[in-house]
Amino acid sequence: VHPNVSQGCQGGCATCSDYNGCLSCKPRLFFVLERIGMKQRGVCLSSCPSGYYGTRYPDINKCAKCKADCDTCFTRNFCTKCKSGFYLHSGKCLEKCPDGLEANNHTMECASIVH
């Protein structure tokens, strides 16, 4: 057994070590980097946490952060819920709605103008 490997890998790790946590995940799980204080460890999750989106690569599935103005997203360029102060329009977060649309402060989305 590799000297640094904890006896059983935590959670969904396929391989892991004491210092780095997960190094690879079991099939279909997502690899996420988690920082706790000065430590950074790998963890494996069945889905990406809020504020992250998942991308499947040939050798690893990874979670990456949504854009800075976005709270939850489907991909890096398709936001589903914007941060406070931004309006959602076609997957983008805007400080001001485009002409012809009005800002709905309840849903925080740009909506068609109702006459």
Partner: protein, 155 residues
């Protein structure tokens, strides 16, 4: 003929705990220059183009514990490029614990002129440093160039 290895003195100053003085060696992939900053661990997979390290504050010194090569058969980047990426993300210096991957020393020998120093650490010194990391103790690190011993003069 292989250039002499330049030794490094690594002073680790954890909060509220006695400092420890370790020794490493500068890798010639980068400049041999002192550096200091807050110690932060980086997972080896965080230094890939497909990973954004969420750390935005710069001015830190990053420690990367390298795993045995067979545990990462298809590395996303070479070690030299990982060191370069760490520097681009704000690291003032990169420490590699090569206890489990001695091949790293050869990979980081070819000069690339990286401006942030790259220091290799192994064995007991690395164990002490990773002990600080494992206890998640905030620590400040100073990397100094170890002066070679003065030649005794035989008059």
């Amino acid at each position: 003929e292989r250039a002499a290895v330049q030794k490094a003195i690594i002073r680790v100053i954890p909060l509220k705990v006695e400092p420890i003085v370790l020794e490493g060696e500068f890798a010639s992939v980068a400049e041999v220059t002192p550096a200091e900053g807050k110690l932060l661990q980086s997972h080896p997979l965080s230094l890939c183009n497909t990973s954004e390290d969420e750390h935005t504050e710069s001015g830190f010194i990053t420690i990367v514990k390298l795993e045995q090569p067979d545990r990462d058969p298809n590395p996303c980047l070479s070690l030299a490029n990982k060191a370069k990426l760490a520097g681009e993300r704000g690291a003032r210096a990169i420490l590699f614990d090569i206890t489990d991957d001695e091949s790293a020393a050869d990979q980081l020998r070819k000069p690339r002129g990286l401006s942030q120093p790259v220091v290799l650490i192994r064995g007991h010194d690395a164990e002490l440093l990773m002990g600080v990391v494992n206890k998640n103790r905030e620590a400040h690190v100073k990397i100094e160039v170890k002066e070679p011993p003065a030649w005794p003069d035989y008059d």
